[in-house]
Amino acid sequence: MLKELLIQYAFFLHGSKRYKNIKTTAYNFLLNSDYEYKKYFDIFMISLIVVSIAILVYEVKNPVPYWVDFFDIYLVTVIFLMEYIARVWVHNDWHKQVVKEVGEAEFLNRKVSLWRPSKETLKGKIRYLLTPTAIIDLLAILPAYRPLRVLRIFVLFRVFKLLRYTKSINQFLGVLASKKFELFTLLFLLVFITVTAGIAIYVFEQNENENIESIFDALYWALITISTVGYGDISPVTPEGRVVSMMIIVSGIAMISFVTSVIVSSFSEKLDELKENRIVEELNKKDEFMIICGYGQMTRMFLRYYAKEYTNRYIVIENDKDKVDEAIKEGYKAIHEDASRHDVIKRFNLQYSNITLLALTGNDIANIYITLNAKSLSRKIKVIARARTEKMIKKYQLAGADSIVRPNVIADRMLYTAITQPVMYKAIYAILTGKNMALLDEINLSQSELLVGKKIEELELKKQKLLCIGLQRAGEEGEFIFNPPVETTLEEGDILLVMGRKVSIEYFRSIYTKVKYV
């Protein structure tokens, strides 16, 4: 009976949109670095940690008011505890395991076991609880337990919690981790020299120097000396001791220079990568952005004219380092990567952002591959590809490109028009380049709902010096009506094509666009 109830409950959770939304939101706040509002949560948690540590330091010499203590013990700790529980909760899903188990049991015609999915879920959660970050989270909660004052020192673990919320520290640690071998070698050398020098000074001066009473004193002196700190509380008194001292000072300086150079070189190696990661992370927070593949003539021209319109909403991916440097020098956002690689496009926020990918390299094969790569990751990505020849169009279409641009064809048609209809050429050129005098623009009725239900004649377009060129009916299969009759009624989701001066269109929009209250 209980088992059936639990299975039903698991299925209820599995089908509940509300539960899924709540869990996704919790996940986004806690773990999804691409989530727009996560930074506010992080800032809030960092503030709590800073306040908590400030209270600890203040408390050393000053009595704190009751409410401060209350805030520190209950509020901060309760929030930390809730965060801790939430992290354990979002780590994995029990109901998914149960649903999987029921499915498998039905398929294999065996009895459903609730123990198996529960065990799997529990194992996952325990595995999480034993991770260093989860242990730090737990230790950061402990200081609230007042009977044991010694636990107050665990407040310092709250400092470690900062690691969760600050990327810079994590990046620094990441860079150090990449030089693990060199740093461990140096550490080993440091230990070796310190121990050798410590033993030497102990042997030479244990009976001569009143400050060196034990091997610990000798090791302490060696470490303070090799680090070039030199407090002066212990100093050698025999000539042999002084020789040892000189030797470890020299090796200390050498070692510090070595460590510094290892860290600096690893930073300079990783600097580009860190910068690129930062650009991608910033972009992933946007609702919509553009990935431009290739930095050739076409991209250059596009950015020259339109980079300002897409500020902070685009990125150029180029696999030629020189071209990347050139793009950066021009002031564009570019990274050195290969856009045809799966993991490169996967770095972008494919789930939440509306991404348009421009495949603009000069090579059809590369562009088709880039298109396929993007579409295989998400059908949602809109791909605009550049094709060089007519024969390639079909292949681009099969690869899933949403629009195909053929520079030569467009230019040929423009040339043809410039020769055969020179007057019209000027008009078309102005329309194509969006000149102020003749902007061909779209009025989207889902944004201008006051227009819905109106007849075109009621809009008095002539009075507003606008021309109605066409009407695109709503939906993907919606009909396009060229030069629609004036008695046509506008419907929800329609797109009205109008032509006129920019100022006329903007004024028209301002009249019919009202804030939508829900």
Binding site: R406, D412, K426, F482, I495
Partner: protein, 234 residues
Amino acid sequence: MFNRKALMFGYSNTTKFLAENLTKELHYLVIIVDDEESYQEAKKAGYRVKLLDITDDNALEELDVAEDDYLICVMKDHYINVFLTLSLHALFPKTTIIALSDSYHATQKLKMAGATRIIDLYQVSANRIHNILTKPVATKLIERLFSPEEEFSFKEILIPKNSILDAVMVDDFDFSKHGIILVGMIDKRLSKQFIFITSGLENRFDIGDTLVCIGYNDDLNKFEEYIKGKEDES
């Protein structure tokens, strides 16, 4: 058909496209090349072709070029294209020179060299991409207007003598009755500049004005015939 000539310099896919489509529009079209291979290829394809050293001013001077002809510079090498434009502008300063460019810098140089119109291969494509992103419906329409297979297009219509449009104010004439849209015109009386109808000027139609309209091809042709009406009535 226009009573004009077009001289196209260079042999490429662009030249082929233009040569195939312009034959109906112009009474004389010649392709000028500077290498034997292109010359043979163009000749084999059935085009009227001339072989000459285009860096030689004397050879260029001998070409029969009138003021209202077209000189089309579509050489593959943009250095030569700029140089050719400069030479042609120096020799035939009043003739329209249309040049194809493949970079922003080449466009600047062609402008300075005296090209009347420059079509920048990548700029038009960049505009197109921007339009696809920001105005997809409008872009599709423009594409259809450009496509020769479509049933509607742009058309230049000259107001002939004794036209019913003569001395009619723009606002007083209902184009929608004819199923077409007047986009703009060249008002001979005011200037030779193209004026968009949405610019707000109160214009009057006169004989010799050129109207630019969009509409279904049938409607445009019917309208062109219709405005000649006055002559027929008389």
